[in-house]
Each structure stands twice: as C-alpha cells, then as structure tokens.
Symmetry: C2
Subunit: 413 residues, 2 copies
C-alpha cells in the first residue's frame, strides 16, 4: 500500500478512535496483547531473520542487542499493552471551564491529536509500545521503524491489527509504514494528514526529523545532563547523587554527563568522588583543576563538555562560582535535566529559576526524570522542546484540546 | 545590527526577563505605555510617510486603512499596554505537583518560552501589542513586521525600548528585525536562538512560515467556519446566530463562511434566513437546492466551499442529514470554529464529539471564539493547530513549563 493511501486510512481510523469509550479502548488493548502473545513463535522467527541480517552486516553488538527479541522481551511488550489498559484515559478530561457573563458556557476538553507518526530505530519493542500508547490516547499511529527490524515489525503490527479486528475496532488504527527513504520524507511532509511526529532515537535521527518535517514535531531528548556540586553541598549526598546519575544506567538520556564542582568544596568533594567513580568503572575527562586530584583523570578534549557519552565516561570541571556554573550550563545544556547539590536555599532558588531545562533537580538524582518514576504509567519519550510538552510525556501529553462552547442562542453585541 | 547579533541579545535579555517579578514587568509595561504616548507626534509623522508610500504604490485602500495610525489608534495601543499590566502573570503558576513514593517532590511550573519571533503584516498596532504580550509573559520578542510599516515600527519599537530603559529593564527585550527577505529566512531557521514563531496575518503568510521554519511554529488561524442548522433547530435562533456570525464583523477569522442546512428544515429556515441575509447586504453563493428559495442566490462555484471570504459573502448548501453535514465539515474545515444550531441533545453530542476543530459551538455565535470574549484579557492570535495551544491564545499560552524536582539526597534504586 502506498503511503498516501495508508495515511488517509489512518485519518479515517482516527475519526472512529476519537469517540471510542475507555472501556472499548481497554478491551482493544487486551485483545492486542492476546494476539501478540499468540504470535510469539512467528515473531521470534521473524526477529531471528532480522538479527542474522544485522550480524551479517557487521552491526555493533549493542545495536544487535536492542534489535533482539526473547520470550521475556515479548512478554514485556504484551504486559505493556495490558498495563496501558489499567491507566486512566485522558480523553474527555475537562482542563478548565467557565461561564461568559452572558451565560454561554465554555469548556476546554482533552481530545486526541488524530494521527501520530512515530519514527524510530531498530528496537522492535517500540512498535507495540508506541501503538498501544497512541491507541489508549485515541490516536491512530503510523509507525516508521528501522528497515533492519522490518520482519519483526511486520509480524508485530499484523498481530496488533488482528487484535483490533477481533474486537471490532478498525485495524487502520495501527499502521506500519514501509518503503525506502522517500517514504520517510512523505511522512515528514504529510501536514494535514498527520498531526504530530515523534522521533524516538539518537540525536542524528531527531535532527533529521526536525530539519525535514513540515508536520509539527515533538523533539525527544538528547541529554547532556549536568550535576553541579555547590560550595555548601553535603559531600556524601553529592557523591551518592553523582554516582547514581552517572552509573545507575549510563545509556539513557537522563544519565549525568558532566560534573561541575564549586572551587570551595573541591578539596573535600573531589577526592571522594573520583575514588567512587573509579570504583564504579567511570573514566573522568577533566580540566586541569580536576586532574590535580587524581592521576587517572583524562584531559577533557575540545567539545567534550558538549558530549552525550551514554557510556561510563564523565566530563568534569571546577568552577569559581554558581554564576560560572550557570553560565557553563547555559552554554552546554541540551535542556533535559540539570541538577544542583546544595545546602543553600539561595543557591537552589537561583539554580531553579535560572536554568532553562525540562527538569531542574535539587538534591536528587536526575534518573528520576522519567515517566515511570513520575508515576505516568506510560511514557512515549522525554521532550526537550518547549512547545506543547516538556519533560516526560505520558498519555496526557498525547492529547490536544478543543473548546466546547454552549449557549441558548446568544450572539455577540 | 545583523540578525544573529540581535537574536543573541534577545536570548540574553530572556534570561533577565525569566526572573523578573510581576511588579517589575507591570512597571515596565506602564513605562512603555508612557514612552509610546510621548512619541505620538513622531509616530504620526513616521506613519504618514509609510501611508504615503503605500498609496503611491497603489496599495488597496483596506490595507492602507490597517496601516494608518490616528491619535485614537495610538491611544488604543497605549491603553493595551496598561491593560496588560492589570492582568495576572502566568509565570510561576504551578500546573500540578505531587510527591514520589520516596518523598521526592515534583512540581510542574509555568516558565516563559524565552525568545518569541512574531512575523506579521502591515498593522503597526501589532508591534506594541505583541511586544507587550511577550514582555508580560516573560519573553523577549523579535518583531518582524512588514517593510511597508517600517517607519512606524521603528518609532514604536524605539519608544518601547526607551520605556524599558527608563525602569532599568534591558531594551533588548523588544527588538525590531529589519532587512530583506533573507532576514526572515534567518529568523525562521534560528532554532536554538528562537523558541517559537507566531505568524499573524493571512493564509499566505502563515503557509510561508510553516513551510520555511525549523523553529517550532504556532499556526494562527484561517477560519472557514461553518454554521450547521439541524432539522430540530429553533428557526428564529438559527437566523440570529447565522446573521451575527456572518455580519457582526465579516473580516475576522471567527466569522461564518459557510451555511449548511438540514433538508427537513429548509422550507422553514431558508426563506427567513435568505431574507435576513439580503437585508444585511450578504451575497449567498448556494447549491441548486438553496437557490430554489430565492432569485438572488449566486451559484456556488467550484472550490467555493473552501473559501474564507472575509467579506459579506456566504457559501450555502442543503444537506440530507447530520452525517452529510459532518462529512462536509470534515472535508472543508480549517479547524477553527464550527457551529451547530439544534434542539436535539443527540445531534449536539455527535457534533461536539465528531467535529475536529479548535472550538465547537452549540446554539451560540462563533464570534465568541476570541481571547477577549473568553476573558483572557489579551490575545496573541487564535491557534488552529493541535500542538501546544488550540483556540484563542492568551498569556498562559505564551508560556512553557519546567519540572522542579526536590529531594534530600534520594537516588534511584
């Protein structure tokens, strides 16, 4: 099927989805889960073909790992769909409402976007996850996965569509967009047919979608997250927070990438911090002031304060003041999550007010900036843009709103 | 000053504006108002130059009228700034907040976008209006007006900047972007320096900004607004609403452009409606079924159901059912404001649920879809897109949010 036909079908499906009750959507999610569970043998087979091709093409093992499905991972995808069914439905929520002086009533009500395009990399679990989140929020999805996961995605989407059909919901609610690069271009320029695009993946993918799209994009995040240890920080607390933010899961966007240390606490903090980082396998790339505290600090190269390592590497720098820290962050932030560790109210207030990011943390690990940790139940990504949604995006962020204006014949004077 | 330098200056100014108190911003608005009032003689002189040049270039009189400033219009601009000072400040509002199970506190707080670009046509009053709305919401503005209003805009912006300086606020909070078409392109692609672009003007301007921008755009609206008169409508009410929506101010985006009439009420409604429209100078462009009710109905040409007339013209069509009406609206809506006049709960419920637009009205004139009428106090435009803001945009819609996460050393397990 060509993209245009598919997008028009998704648009039609969106009309049906917009008025489905929560009960009908939850039933559909369970049916999708059942169908996906039943498809496990087919899915494992298809995935093995993808994995073999990726290995043959010399794909790095970390990417092959993301591409690989196991019975446990498929069970996770199935459970993810069931978990969505247990979450509240944002559609129909009244955001606010009031009466005009003439008695006309105005309500702002949450409604689905309509059709959402998801462009993502070789992680087949995203297929079920994104399709489920879109369905629960009343949106039809156009799923544009990586060609290297095509066989896995085909079986997954086929199963999800069978699940929808089994309960009388149009299968065009979930669509896999196939074809060459041209088709991605068509998707990105399908303004009017597609309401919003969400890229999920690395910085390169996101930049390409931002540059090439006329459809509105919700940018999800690269995170060059800073931990600033203020002069008044509790040293033990600061070490614990830094260690957690850097090492608890280094490959994710809310992990710490740069450490800034106030000069006045460097003597107390850095020896303890560098030892703890070393013990946990972290390589520190520091300025000369940091390097003075340990022999194994690698000199930070040019541009390294802009790096999103996503590995057990950490850039580090000693700063003269909170002003210097704020200025450094201003220059290098990707607007994701920025942390201060401090005992000073004045310092935390300035940091919270002046740092321009989706999340600003005081004395807590940036690893908490996550839809799951925030209690959203589901997360489509973490937005680092300022329009529409900023920070972790749950089901609520997958909706728009409309004003419902009701009167008894009132006209404007 | 070149655009890049100006945008960087605006970015710096935004840092200052983000932490200004409401009192400081209100003082600045009054100071801007004072300076603008004092500049009246200079402004009238400069405007006369613009108006003369426009006339000499054969500009249509309706556009010359929009370009022309009078003492009364300048007084309106001045008062607009003072009115903004009286409105609540959305910055700092807590949207929601909760505690994580481990005691970490999370608050979602409204913050300014940062730098807002406004691209608009030859209406010099927009310069003061947009600058004021941006300032009140804590944003720096890059104002890109029409070259035909350049002299007026220069004097206006100079006065506003003087007003800012007089109270110690950086004048770079308000900036006039000058130069050729290339500069508009630079503004539209200044992602990272400019946080959001808002085009204000006709469909052509908006399309050009949407197509050419990498900076996120809030699309403001063209309105092909429909009035659907259902079989069960109160005829007198329907005529009053249609007349108000069409004629109370035909040149604006929330005015009615197309009438749809259920076949079962055509005999009662159309003779009365067509007579009332005629009495008010409206030309009706109808299908044959409508034309059967009056001699002066002009046949609706191809594409006329997509026209945003903005004049005393109205397209009209008789439909067989509410399904036909919904299908017609689906095909031709610009997603602005759509109205049903009906006595039936079932019909109004279907219309409200199924019509995909910023505002859906039941038994009320679409002229109420307006920031002023909604009680927002100020309005930057009416968004017809689904991302971020939909419908009338007041000060709240000129903000983003950030999460403030505070703990006592908590880390993720």
């Amino acid at each position: 099927m060509d993209f245009q036909t598919q997008a028009v079908a998704a648009r039609r499906a969106a009309i049906e989805l917009a008025t489905l009750s929560r009960a009908a959507k939850d039933k559909a999610l369970h049916s999708m889960a059942d169908a996906l569970a039943a498809a496990e043998p087919r899915l494992l087979e298809a995935n093995a073909v993808d994995v073999e091709a990726a290995r043959a093409a010399g794909t790095p093992e970390s990417i092959v790992d993301r591409l690989t499905l196991t019975p446990a991972r498929i069970a996770g995808m199935v459970q993810g769909l069931r978990d969505l069914a247990a979450l509240p439905d944002p559609v129909g929520d009244v955001v606010r409402g009031w009466k005009l002086p003439n008695g006309v009533s105005v309500r702002q009500v949450r409604v689905p976007f309509g059709v959402i395009g998801i462009i993502y990399e070789a992680r087949p679990n995203v297929t079920a996850d994104a399709a489920g989140i879109c369905l629960k929020s009343g949106n039809a999805s156009l799923l544009r996965g990586s060609s290297s996961a095509l066989n896995s995605n085909r079986v997954t989407v086929q199963a999800l569509r069978e699940g929808l059909e089994a309960v009388g919901v149009t299968p065009d609610a979930v669509n896999l967009v196939e074809g060459g690069r041209d088709v991605t271009g068509e998707l990105m320029r399908a303004r009017g047919l597609v309401d919003v695009l969400i890229p999920r993946g690395g910085a390169g993918l996101i930049q390409a979608v931002v540059d090439g799209s006329t459809v509105p994009v919700i940018e999800t995040g690269t995170g060059n997250c800073h931990v600033y240890v203020d002069a008044s920080a509790d040293v033990e607390q600061a070490v614990a927070i830094l260690l957690n933010a850097k090492t608890q899961r280094p490959s994710v966007c809310n992990a710490a990438e740069t450490l800034l240390v106030h000069r006045d606490i460097a003597d107390q903090f850095l020896p303890a911090a560098l030892a703890a980082l070393r013990d946990n396998g972290v390589t520190v790339h520091g300025d000369p002031a940091t390097a003075a505290y340990a022999d194994d600090v690698v000199p930070a190269g040019p541009g390294e304060y802009d790096a999103e390592y996503l590995t057990l590497d950490l850039a580090a720098k000693v700063v003269d003041s909170i002003d210097d820290a704020l200025e450094h962050i201003r220059e290098h932030t990707t607007g994701h999550s920025e942390t201060i560790v401090t005992g000073s109210r004045k310092a935390s207030e300035r940091f919270v007010a002046e740092v321009d990011a989706a999340a600003v943390l005081v004395n807590a690990s940036s690893r908490f900036v996550d839809g799951g940790e925030f209690g959203f139940g589901a997360e489509i990504g973490i937005s680092t843009q300022k329009l529409h949604a900023r920070g972790p995006m749950g089901l609520t962020e997958m909706t728009s709103s409309k004003y419902v204006v009701e009167g008894e014949g009132q006209v404007r004077a």
